[in-house]
């Protein structure tokens, strides 16, 4: 009989803990603006997610806000994480690179909750409580393509891309257009990973397959899977172009440049606009001229030039000249780069 009482006692204690913990949570709220940032894969990709985390850290340090980062893995966890954040009563909830439909559904379901996305959402209109910053990476990818087309020795250039979708194709076709400008006869290969953005082994296999095919420069557009692409470049003595963050220093001399997508800035901007009371639903586009994207050479990285074999290093300066030339043309509106988000695929890029 005594034992049954013990069991009952344990049950009572644990049940009371459920309520007690719930009560603590609501009491712990303070004056600061609270923000949750839900990222699509765990930290440590040295790419997209880590970049968002930089923005989170900066917001925590510089703004009157308490920003929590929530890591998830896989589609099935995204919605639970978003709902968990809604439940906890954050002032603003950021979903980084999550499914557009889910973001729209949640925003419509909770009209009083502010949502935002620091990277692209694919919708025609957004509700008032959902803001999206869009970073156009096609032009910066184009610039990297110019370099790759100019530098390739085998006239074969490849891309290892996370998945066949407009957001990724914006990188791919911008790059392709650039390659074909400086090297019209260049063969162009794309390997899609079926939306596996966190699998370096798969990235490496795909990259090695392309290098075996004769490519000597590969553009990696696949988050953490890209680590494998970069490693493959270094191991096989070939070259790669990094993405999202400055990845030039991972394998000095093997990574020609990186196409930067400043998710950290867009994350920070969104939080700042909310803290300052300027939060507004709808789209806002950021581009090269806003400093939201570009290539690593622009921000002073010379890692490749300093470490590459002499013949490749010698090509850096002429390539940079071409880049400057086209950049001026793009900014003045004289030259147009294909945008996979808004346009049908051009015939010249098929």
């Amino acid at each position: 009989m005594k034992k049954i009482f013990t069991l009952l006692f344990v049950a009572v204690v644990s049940i009371s803990m459920i309520f007690a913990a719930g009560a603590n949570e609501t009491a712990a709220k303070d004056e600061k603006v609270t923000v949750a940032v839900v990222i699509p894969s765990p930290l440590g990709d040295r790419s997209f997610c880590d970049s968002a985390n930089e923005g989170v850290k900066r917001a925590n340090a510089e703004l009157n806000a308490k920003v929590d980062l929530i890591e998830t893995q896989g589609v099935h966890e995204h919605e639970n994480a978003m709902r968990g954040a809604i439940n906890k009563g954050y002032d603003l909830i950021l979903g980084v690179g999550l499914d557009t439909q889910m973001m729209l559904d949640l925003a419509n379901e909770y009209p009083d909750q502010a949502f935002a996305s620091p990277s692209e959402l694919y919708a025609d209109v957004l509700p008032d409580n959902l803001a999206s910053l869009l970073i156009n990476v096609n032009k910066s990818s184009f610039l990297a393509g110019l370099i790759a087309g100019y530098m390739t020795n085998t006239d074969k250039v490849g891309v290892v891309a996370g998945g066949d979708a407009p957001g990724i194709n914006q990188f791919v076709y911008g790059f392709k257009q650039g390659v074909l400008v400086t090297n019209p006869d260049c063969k162009f290969y794309v390997n899609y990973l079926g939306f596996d953005f966190s699998n370096p082994t798969l990235g490496k296999e795909s990259a090695i397959a392309l290098y075996d095919e004769g490519c000597d420069i590969i553009y990696s557009v696949c988050g953490l899977s890209g680590e494998g692409v970069l490693a493959a470049a270094a191991e096989t003595g070939n070259y790669a172009v990094g993405v999202d963050t400055v990845q030039d220093e991972f394998y000095p001399g093997s990574i020609i440049t990186s196409v930067i997508k400043r998710v950290d800035n867009s994350t920070y901007d969104l939080i700042k606009s909310y803290v300052d009371g300027n939060f507004k639903g709808g789209f806002r586009t950021l581009d090269i001229e806003d400093g939201a994207t570009g290539i690593s050479w622009d921000v002073g990285y010379t890692t490749f030039k300093d470490n590459a074999p002499a013949d490749m290093a010698a090509k850096v300066d002429p390539a940079a000249k071409i880049v400057e030339e086209y950049k001026a043309k793009i900014l003045s509106g004289e030259y147009k780069v294909y945008d996979a988000l808004t346009e049908e695929l051009w015939d010249s890029l098929k």
Partner: protein
């Protein structure tokens, strides 16, 4: 032969494993400087709490639904002594079929929804035939064949959402959203807890009777206990295995179907993140008993919810530590035989104590 009414170990062992796993993991978390009691409290309130806009306990009930079904599917395989792990693939195929019909059928929901469910079950069942026939007729190891079948289904899913079923817009490759009339209702919107849960429970009850109260169930259990002896006793063990694996496949297919109809309303790549494999852990944790499967599914879903989200949200404990917690639980299940005698002794003394009281 007289069967015992109910073996309390079915409930006690998973509970002990869970408890040990949680305690060890919480102590590990304590190393990072968070008080063990607080993290335990958050774990419980995050997974089974009653607060917020949508109570976590309802979300847990919602996410336990597919686990119950895949767990039941795995359990049916274990019952005939076949370690078939094709649930993941069957789940995916059921989902593909549901998403396909859901977006293309133009029938009234009363006809269409049961039809879609049957079609998904057929798809899963057919996918169960392959390892079953290979096993029975050719002696192919079911573990290998079913692992390979899982890979095939994942790739088929990627192909289907990238090409034939693909909706135009969207960053991710995904199928069109199914007609709203076919959505299975949720009891509390946003919790994912809905009609599919009731169907899952109904199936559990049905299979409890099927396994323990019918001739077919008896055959299953006999084949599982000792296939040669069953053959000697006149049971056609090959047929029993094929039948069980087909039923198991149909249930896993239904799980995929109900996730699509009741939850995602479409399919996308990465949709199948290991739910089929979770079914295996559930079946093992639940000691291959239908009631055990339900309890374990509920607990596992809650701990997932609490450990991987609650701990992050409330205490900023990294997601990986939540993963460690879940791994710990599974670890303690796997080494169950080590501490089983101790637990058995304790249970026996408690139940003896109760009898003395009476």
């Amino acid at each position: 032969m007289k069967r015992k009414s109910f073996d309390p170990m079915v409930l006690v062992m998973p509970a002990v494993a869970l408890l040990l796993g949680v305690v060890v993991a919480v102590l590990l978390i304590a190393i990072t400087g968070v008080s063990p009691l607080r993290s335990l409290g958050v774990l419980i309130s995050g997974g089974f709490g009653f607060s917020g806009k949508v109570w976590p306990i309802f979300m847990t009930l919602g996410s336990s639904t597919p686990l119950i079904l895949t767990g039941l599917a795995a359990m049916l395989c274990f019952k005939v002594g076949v370690f078939c792990i094709a649930q993941e693939g069957q789940y995916v195929f059921g989902a593909i079929v549901a998403a396909w019909f859901g977006a293309s059928l133009k029938l009234p929901p009363v006809i269409a929804v049961p039809f879609i469910m049957l079609a998904s079950m057929a798809a899963g069942g057919l996918y169960g035939v392959i390892p079953a026939v290979l096993k029975v007729k050719l002696g192919v190891n079911e573990i290998i064949s079913s692992i390979m079948l899982n890979n095939i289904s994942t790739l088929v899913l990627e192909y289907m959402v990238a090409f034939p079923l693909r909706a135009d817009a969207g960053q991710k490759a995904q199928s069109e959203v199914i007609s709203k009339g076919y959505w299975l209702p949720q009891f509390i919107y946003g919790s994912r807890w809905g009609v599919s849960f009731l169907i899952a429970i109904a199936l559990i009850v049905f299979f409890y009777f099927y396994i323990y109260k019918t001739r077919w169930g008896y055959e299953m259990r006999m084949v599982g206990e000792n296939r040669r002896f069953a053959d000697y006793g006149g049971i056609k063990s090959g047929n029993v295995i094929i039948r069980s694996l087909v039923i198991s496949g149909a249930i896993a297919g239904l799980a995929g179907c109900m996730e699509v109809l009741g939850n995602y309303h479409r399919i996308m790549t990465g949709f199948s993140s290991g739910l089929g494999f979770d079914g295996l852990s559930v079946a093992m944790l639940g000691m291959s008993n239908p009631i055990g499967v339900v309890i374990v599914s509920f607990l596992l879903a809650g701990i997932r919810q609490g450990a991987q989200l609650g701990l992050q949200l409330s205490l900023q404990i990294p997601r990986e530590l939540g993963g460690v917690l879940i791994a710990m639980v599974i670890f303690f299940v796997a080494i169950g035989n080590v501490y089983r005698p101790v637990v058995e002794k304790a249970v026996r003394s408690i139940s003896r104590g109760r009898k003395d009281d009476e």
